[in-house]
């Protein structure tokens, strides 16, 4: 299994079949008489010809070359790789939910609309906002929507000078990219060494051309921005709005809320905070919560309720329009709803408490062997700055690759950009003390190895199915499809 290295195309054999459809029970048609011949395909699309069992073995073999949350510990900073409860999967597969067409008459979709209405309400309560749209497909799309809302707000006041968005240099790359997609110019400000906003730098760029500020709190260094109220009043006084990147919500549920900190708009990552699976890169969901003044601009449709039941409200003249087909990644929304129901107010509180406890405990245990740039209480994650003893020039990448040999998914590396040799660690609340202790032990052992046998790290990983991959060759040769 370990050595399996075939593509599905290489299993293909002419004439083999893995499917059967019911015999066509209406009269056969002649393609040529129904469709002009110049519209018809000449060359057959060369798709695989495989049997069902061969296909199953193929994809099962591929799955064993992956690492999931159920494989082991996944302390990937900023990504909140918590356990994805199985019950959410079953609830998303309820036939009343998955076999529903988005354009069905309203009276036949009352259940789904009720679920969406309630979920939006719950998300608004958790974040302290007036209303939440569920339409964005992912966090980055949520960011884009939030920025479009800010634009629409200023436009509605005929304030067309506000073309700039302030983004700290510690921000996630999607922040500036989303602002650019929404048509803004980006003003980057340097952060304090602890990742917090440099108030002087902020004041220096605030003026009547600023549409808003994008921030995450806790910051990407996992530290709470204690000046948040001052920051929000400074931005508001200058006529700007505040955008909250909800990537770090796992740290603060039931402790404090972005809406109460003075933020005007935020996106959630349901695939982080609300336990929906990451799927190897999606689908996620990025609902956006807004304060009262941004409600009129939310994307259409909004799920609303009247005496006769729930309905999709398109009659919103100030709306920014649609950003995605239909109503959002509904199947992901169902999972998040299932999760919030299971956790409840008591469970969500415990989530944030234990997520923060686990992070502080790990930080405390690792700070001797690894550089800890800022030694104060962290939230749900913390950032190390490479090995304390780096006399053999062992870098963060080597540590990360060596962790693979110990059977762990490495932390996020080289982010945030403002920390040299960054290793960003987020344990989440779903890991036991035993798991965390074992990981700490591995990290300490690696630090020792870095001193005694640095080559072991530099050539890692050794125990994985494949070794380090030649990325330059991939980019140079650009083999993006299988060639016979």
């Amino acid at each position: 299994m370990k050595d399996y290295n075939q593509l599905i195309f290489e299993l293909s054999k002419s004439g083999r079949m893995g499917y059967q459809l019911p015999k066509c029970d209406v009269e056969q048609v002649d393609l040529g008489t129904l469709i002009p011949s110049e519209f018809l395909r000449e060359e057959v699309a060369e798709l695989p010809e495989v049997s069902e069992i061969d296909l199953i073995r193929h994809y099962t073999a591929l799955s064993t070359k992956n690492y999931g949350v159920e494989t082991g510990f996944y302390p990937l900073g900023s990504c909140t790789m918590k356990y994805n409860p199985k019950m959410n999967e079953d609830n998303a597969a309820i036939p009343f939910s998955k076999n529903v067409h988005p354009y069905q008459p309203e009276e036949t979709i009352q259940g789904s609309l009720e679920l969406m209405y309630d979920l939006a309400d719950q998300l608004s309560e958790i974040s302290g906002f007036a209303k939440t749209t569920l339409q964005p497909a992912a966090g980055s799309q949520g960011e884009m929507v939030g920025l479009m809302l800010i634009k629409a707000y200023h436009d509605s006041k005929n304030d067309d000078k506000r073309t700039k968005i302030i983004v700290p240099d510690s921000a996630h790359g999607t922040n500036p990219a989303s602002a650019a997609v929404a048509g803004f110019e980006i003003v980057e400000i340097t952060s304090n060494p602890d990742g917090s906003v440099d108030l002087d730098a902020l004041k220096a760029v605030l003026n009547d051309e600023v549409a808003g500020l994008m921030l995450t709190n806790p910051s990407t260094l996992g530290l709470f921005e204690t000046n948040i109220l001052e920051i929000s009043s400074l931005v508001h006084e200058a006529g700007g709005l505040l955008y909250y990147d909800g990537a770090n919500m796992n740290a603060i549920m039931s402790k404090c809320r972005p809406g109460d900190m003075g933020f005007d708009v935020m996106h959630y990552n349901l695939h982080k905070t609300m336990s929906t699976p990451h799927g190897g890169g999606g689908p996620g969901a990025g609902p956006v919560g807004v304060s009262e003044r941004l409600v009129p601009f939310l994307p259409v449709p909004v799920v609303e309720k009247k005496d006769t039941g729930y309905f999709l409200d398109y009659d919103r003249p100030q709306s920014i329009g649609k950003v995605k087909g239909f109503y959002g990644n509904y199947g992901i929304l169902v999972r998040a709803y299932s999760y919030i129901q299971a956790m409840g107010r008591d469970g969500l509180k415990e989530v944030s408490e234990v997520a923060v406890l686990n992070a502080n405990y790990m930080m405390h245990k690792l700070k001797e062997a690894y550089k800890l740039p800022i030694d104060k209480v962290c939230k749900h994650e913390f950032v190390l700055s490479g090995l304390n003893n780096d006399k053999h020039e062992v870098v963060t990448l080597d540590v990360a690759k060596r962790l693979l040999d110990y059977g762990y998914h490495p932390p996020t590396v080289y982010f945030p950009l403002i920390v040299d040799e960054a290793l960003m660690i987020e344990p989440t609340e779903t890991e036991s003390k035993e798991t965390i202790d074992a990981f700490i032990e591995a990290m300490l052992k690696i630090a020792e190895e870095a001193d005694k046998s640095p080559d072991l790290l530099k050539s890692a990983p050794h125990n994985t199915i494949v070794g380090r991959i030649d990325e330059a060759k991939a980019a140079r040769e650009l083999i993006l499809t299988y060639q016979k």
Binding site: C24, L115, T174, V181, G279, G325, E431
Partner: protein, 445 residues
Amino acid sequence: MHRFIPSTKEDKKAMLESIGAADMEALFVDIPKEVRLDRELALDESKSELEVTRLMNETLGKNISTDALTCFLGAGAYDHYVPTVVNHLSSRQEFATAYTPYQPEISQGTLQVIFEFQTMIAELTGMEVANASMYDGPTACAEAAMMAVAAGKKKKSIVVSETVHPEVIKVLESYLRHRDVALIIAPMKEGETDYEKLSTLVDETTAGVLVQNPNFYGVIEDAKKSVEIAHGKKALAINYVDPLALPILESPGKQGFDIVVGEGQGLGNDLQFGGPYLGFFASTKKLVRKMPGRICGESVDSRGQRAFVLTLQAREQHIRRYKANSNICSNQGLVALRSTIYMSLMGKAGMKEVAEQCLAKSHYGAKVLTASGKYKLAFDKPFFKEFALVGDKPTKEVNGKLVEAGILGGYDLGPLGVKNGSLLCFTEKRTKEEIDQLASTLEVI
């Protein structure tokens, strides 16, 4: 203590002691009092699995699903057959719970699936390269439009045919408005793009021309004409396609399109009330460095074995930040996996048979529905699996009565200007009996 959180009281105590914190509260002292929430969240208490599942079955049970209604509704979301193998394999946790494959040594499964997906999409569309997928069809169109703008100098507009899905046009409006790019709509004539008008709307400032084929109304267009018009003004030709039609229709690549995008829901994915679906995105190799989203490439590892890795990452937001053409930072990984499994299982013959059955059943439907003369086809044009039918009553009213008879009627074309028009869809799942039932029910409404 919650069942999804393994820490015991003793664990918490020991960990707090080890840190030197008096209690849990000591870990939150950095949050200023003024912003602390001084109450519990207004949510229910935690619930057991049994309670949650009961509640969700009750709530969602207020839906009437396509298990109870025979589905003749399409319009961008299709009731195609989903082989059981797709669910079984895609629910393997190694695929479902993994993160984006940034650590290729432990992500070869996801990466190889993406590579296979790219290959199949490129093959179906007749294009040279494809990416790892986008959120859905409409956003893939928006990304294609933005890519066209980025690829051309002095390009300020996108021309889109009125026969493109109305939700695509709405999403394009939202995306382009913020980029100072004009969206120009070329009108429809008798169910297809008015190519003469289209050619007058395309000029040197046009970045891209977008047509759908088969179009929103189900009509198979002479889409090649848009390629000639676009290329005549150095604009990119973009085609929005139904992948289920591609096994029988001429590939967009052969027709000369530069970018091909589409909605991949029909490739092995449930209706799910509109999502998650997946957009696919293919182009010529020349444009690959402007392409949005993730791309997987083949390489070798340090031991000389074939291995896969995300490539051309210098295009993406985490490197280029605000200079990136797109802010997208994920794909629809698990949905792309489902579609890859679907295309592999159905394979060369199965994909073609699905297309042929759709064609045969929609044409049978057209024949029996128009037999009495009460209903007429809105357009006399070749079609694939959908067509516009016109009757003598508003579609909303007709559909209400169809639901009573256990039938999910077509998409209401009234708001789009086709009076009493309905867009009906016939997939390979519909039987002769169901189609006859639709016809006889419609006769008496």
